[in-house]
Symmetry: none
Subunit: 231 residues, 2 copies
Amino acid sequence: MAESKPLILVVEDETPIRRFLKMTLVDHGFDFAEAVNGKEGLMFVASRRPDLLILDLGLPDIDGLTVTRELREWSNVPIIILSARGQEKDKVEALDSGADDYLTKPFGIAELLARIRVALRHGEKLTQGIADTVFVFGEITTDLVKRQITRGGEEIHLTPIEYKLLTILIKHSGKVVTHNLLLKETWGAGYQQETHYLRVYMAQLRRKLERDSAHPMHLITEPGIGYRLRS
Amino acid sequence: MAESKPLILVVEDETPIRRFLKMTLVDHGFDFAEAVNGKEGLMFVASRRPDLLILDLGLPDIDGLTVTRELREWSNVPIIILSARGQEKDKVEALDSGADDYLTKPFGIAELLARIRVALRHGEKLTQGIADTVFVFGEITTDLVKRQITRGGEEIHLTPIEYKLLTILIKHSGKVVTHNLLLKETWGAGYQQETHYLRVYMAQLRRKLERDSAHPMHLITEPGIGYRLRS
DNA sequence: AATCTACGTCAAGATTTTGTCAAGAAAATT
DNA sequence: AATTTTCTTGACAAAATCTTGACGTAGATT
């Protein structure tokens, strides 16, 4: 990435716009890749790790906002949203979902390019997200893209909160994650005293993931501090 | 910054807008600071290191673009530009000068706040760096990020107080740390006579960390003064 | 040798923190 | 509207940690 041309992935279902973006981007010295729907986009990011994502909000399969949120669970790739809708609440929602910028159609090419440069500037300094979207510990395999957990081939169903907690622990794999952080990330600020929630959910995760939940090998308690994922 | 409120500096010469921003920002849980011209703004950033800069382009002394460029020579504090001019070339120029975002007046409060959150998100991730946090003495390895102690590869479990004491000793590695300081840092003021606590916990640390706890190689007693970590 | 002082050792409660279970409320799905 | 799933909450058990006191040790002082 440092020396070669930055790779930009455009996720856009309308062919004319995609063509136009391709022309413009290639013209200005970027490597171009395209996806016509959300699922394709997610998989592309997982496998090819582009330097920037240009994402249309109105996709045929998954909503652009959902794509953004799912991506943010394991990737820090800069995201610029393109949308026909210019309502303030649309922008706020997109930005709060994890997007880095939001442009309303029609937009100027020069501005788009400038905002791309800004986003790439950020991307350089950012730490990439999780190294691999498939994370393995013990007999457990987690696929962050498919959102699928398996244990010895058997699929394990996790509730949204269980899944969220697990992904946080994976993101900090090996490190101790404080009660505070887990609570804030999962329930939001204002729940930082509810450590009882953590006890209940860690118990459930252990029951689902650990061979012997009374003597966990991976979901480790650090009394007084938090929890830790050991692989 | 991690725990306290983010500090936002507003550089804006028009009093009504400044007042309005102050109200809005304080209302939404930010620390607010202000400067009425570019020179003041630059000096403030240099001395107080705000987490974010909101910068009006039309300043009485230095041009906002110039402020941005000068700032970028020694700081990467996120900058959001506010401007009455919405021409594309103005935006491009500002963004290419080093600004992170550009809003045209009049702007919506909700959008501004959302873009502030984006910028702060970037700022956070920039600083989280590579700090070498592994400290080694003898056969003991301490990783202060993972909060993990190993002895010859074996994981050693420390209780919160044990860990706290050890980190204090590491922070002052080689030097003598007084009873007083250890007690104050660990139990808080008001426990500075309870030196017995230290004896109990230093004994426990030695039992866990030293090869022969009766003849410690690293956790050294300085009679009458305190303790010292020798590596 | 006796005494004193500062520190080390050990272990028994007391206290705090964590784990477990289950029932009812809330939310999502059908 | 009914059903299923998920979340929240409380009571209680279990475990880990902290506090406390009794006693031991070593060296210095008399």
